[in-house]
């Protein structure tokens, strides 16, 4: 394994920042659990890909991404959008298909968009977002804007042509792209070693002369530290940077996934390293977190999720007469 693993143990973290990270992860966790409940109740329909288990990646990475940078995501995007700051009310309304959704009810779970926050959306075609990210970075470079484009994708994308084309072009043209690979070991029902000859995604990236690191995606502090390093390098104009986060999803690929492709024991084993529980334990041990803090955070997160659901329930349906609007710039 020549790819450098995390260089050193993550530094101690001060209390306020730690609580913020914890609350951010809990917000994702409880939001996703509520989505599962609402899906079973028939309020959310279609496809739903939950982020439970991978919260540390979104929360850790987003700390280093500036508000003016761009973010490109995938269909497992709830965590990315929440941490990026897209209001939970607008996300839940979108999941209900309501007109006050962040895509006016047009996109659904796999296609959140927020132009103001430069959140360029979820992409349902595996690897489909990578060329978009390359293009966003190309424009910044041509205009001399010191902005970074962060592009999330799963290890499944490594099997798509666009992964190789995008990495090559980004390095060839020294484009400010931050490639963030969430390696959760399974592309839907196909384990990594059953689809890739070389299973180290970071080493694949290095073959394009790209600086790459493989990071423990269950340690929010490790994720944050690695992402800060990477963003600093990209913003300085050295071209793209590649981070592989080793993580795991505790739920099925989507809501109808019987999970026949993996052992229950393996799921339980990874659950022992639940990024939120692990971080809570660590903070308690470091004396920066007590029961009162936990109760306050849980309460805040509960009202955060309930507010989102209330906004979604109250939201209006888009009138069918607007069917053709937004198709082109001429249909306003």
């Amino acid at each position: 394994m020549s790819a450098r693993t995390a260089r050193d143990a993550t530094p101690p973290v001060e209390r306020e920042h730690a609580l913020a990270l914890l609350e951010a992860m809990l917000r994702i966790r409880r939001f996703e659990e509520k989505c599962a409940e609402l899906y079973q109740a028939g309020k959310i329909r279609g496809f739903l890909h939950l982020y439970i288990g991978e919260e540390a990646v979104a929360v850790g990475a987003m700390q280093a991404i500036a508000t003016d940078d761009a973010v490109v995501s995938t269909y497992r995007e709830h965590g990315h959008a929440l941490v990026r700051g897209v209001p939970a009310e607008r996300l839940m309304a979108e999941l209900f298909g309501k007109a006050n959704g962040c895509s006016r009810g047009r996109g659904g779970s796999m296609h959140f968009f927020d132009a103001e926050r430069r959140f360029y959306g979820g992409y349902a075609i595996v690897g489909g977002g990578l060329p978009i990210a390359v293009g966003l970075a190309l424009a910044d470079k041509m205009r001399g804007d010191a902005r970074v484009t962060a592009c999330f994708f799963g290890e499944g994308a490594a099997a798509e042509g666009e992964f190789h084309e995008a990495l090559n072009l980004a390095v060839l043209w020294r484009l400010p792209v931050l490639f963030l690979c969430e390696n959760n070991l399974y592309a839907m029902g196909t384990a990594l070693e059953r689809s890739e000859s070389e299973t180290s995604i970071a080493e694949k990236a290095e073959s394009y002369r790209l600086t790459a690191e493989s990071i423990d995606g269950m340690d929010v502090l490790a994720v944050e530290a690695a992402t800060r390093r990477a963003v600093e390098a990209v913003r300085s104009g050295n071209g793209p940077y590649f981070l592989e986060f080793r993580t795991y999803r505790f739920r099925g690929h989507s809501m109808a996934d019987p999970e026949l492709y993996r052992q229950k024991a393996e799921v339980e084993e990874w659950k022992q390293r639940d990024p939120i529980a692990a971080f809570e334990t660590r903070l308690r041990a470091a004396g920066v977190l007590d029961d009162g803090d936990m109760a306050r955070v849980e309460h805040a997160v509960a009202s955060f999720v309930d507010a989102a659901v209330a906004a979604a329930e109250a939201g209006p349906w888009e009138p069918v007469e607007d069917l053709l609007t937004y198709l082109t710039s001429e249909t306003p």
Binding site: E37, A41, A256
Partner: protein, 379 residues
């Protein structure tokens, strides 16, 4: 997934359940799914036994909530609030399957025929498998005009042959398509001729009446009593006409025939009929008839005048359904009151379309004509 079968319960009644617990396993057509619980409480009663198949949404068990637990939001009733998606309006396909047996017709030809008042039944198609096209409708309209009014400026010989062709086409179609039946009856014209002589004696020569107008008026009035003879056969259906426009067959110098209409003959006075008839004959012979007079007689009368045969059995002009014919006025021995006397008579004939009328109705018509001619002063 419209229905599911309960495979097994993971909890028993009385067991405590916590948020996130799996309480049962359900099998659907696609996959086995674990039923997760989203509140804390105690499993009270099981409503669906293992192996039972139930539609989606059926409650599986009742749970007594722990104090302080919030009742979960009920599932929405079907999609009541969801706006029904209005399907985009599909352009209504014009069904218009042609009746079988009828020649295929191009849409443009059908449209043109409607505009030019051409009865498609009179048109023969020259397109593939006999399809009628615009040019066929144009030719028919032209022929229809030729039958009606030969254009004066055309060279006579050319006009003659074109006219003959048009008449031939109409007569061929009449013979081919209309199931004719003919009736005749000899009408005593004594009263009519006496009244006419007396009437003309009182009238200046310019106002004198010919016997023909008596026959026209009688025919027109008789049509009111047998209206199905005052009709046209178009698109396999009989179309009755309210007004009675009697076509008058007028022979043209050097051969040829036109049958322009005397409009509302049933309502004109004998004097008006006479004036209009004279005008019609003169304009027909001069070739300056109006097209409207050409295309809308509802029934036609043919009379061969003093030199003609005793009786005329004619062919109906399509799309009309009847033709009245009057032979020449001549004397005939008749027995009246047991005595044989000489009476002026006319043989009246009726050619009628058996699709529309039958002998019984035809006879009623001829009887009406005869009856009306016995009281000429009332015509």
């Amino acid at each position: 997934m419209t229905a599911g079968t309960l495979v097994a319960w993971r909890k028993e009644p009385g067991d405590a359940v916590r948020r996130g617990d799996i309480i049962a396993e359900v099998e659907s057509d696609k996959a086995d799914v674990e039923v997760e619980i989203f509140m804390n409480g105690v499993l009270e009663k099981i409503l669906v036994e293992p192996g039972e198949k139930v539609p989606v949404g059926t409650p599986l068990a009742t749970i007594r909530l722990d104090p302080g637990e919030v009742e979960p939001a009920p599932a929405p009733a079907a999609s009541a609030a969801m706006p029904a998606a209005v399907p985009p309006p599909m352009p209504r396909a014009h069904a218009g399957a042609p009746a079988e047996g009828r020649a295929p017709i191009s849409p443009a030809a059908r449209q043109l025929a409607a505009e030019l008042h051409v009865d498609l039944a009179t048109v023969t198609g020259t397109g593939p498998d006999g399809r009628i096209q615009r040019r066929d409708v144009l030719a028919a309209a032209e022929a229809q005009r030729a039958v009606a009014a030969p254009t004066p400026e055309a060279a006579p010989r050319d006009k003659q042959t074109r006219m003959r062709q048009a008449i031939a086409a109409a007569m061929m179609r009449s013979a081919r398509e209309i199931p004719h039946f003919h009736l005749a009856s000899t009408i005593d014209m004594g009263a009519a001729t006496a009244w006419l002589a007396e009437e003309n004696a009182r009238r200046k020569i310019a106002d004198r009446l010919l016997s023909g107008v008596l026959l026209i008026k009688a025919t027109a009035l008789a049509l009111r009593e047998v209206p199905e003879l005052n009709a046209s056969w178009i698109d396999e259906r009989v179309m009755l006409h309210e007004s009675v426009h009697t076509g008058i067959a007028i022979s043209l110098p050097g051969g040829g025939l036109v049958a322009p209409a005397l409009h509302d003959a049933d309502r004109q006075s004998l004097g008006d009929l006479m004036t209009n008839l004279r005008d019609l004959v003169m304009r027909a012979r001069a070739g300056s008839l109006r097209s409207s007079e050409m295309s809308d007689p509802t029934m036609t009368i043919t009379s061969l005048g003093e030199e003609g045969a005793e009786a005329v059995y004619g062919l109906i002009y399509p799309p009309q359904v009847a033709l009245a014919g009057f032979g020449r006025l001549h004397a005939r021995p008749m027995s009246i009151g047991g005595q044989v006397v000489s009476r002026p008579v006319v043989v009246a004939t009726l050619a009628a379309d058996h699709r529309v009328a039958d002998g019984h109705r035809g006879s009623r018509f001829l009887a009406a004509v005869e009856h009306l001619l016995q009281t000429p002063e009332k015509l």
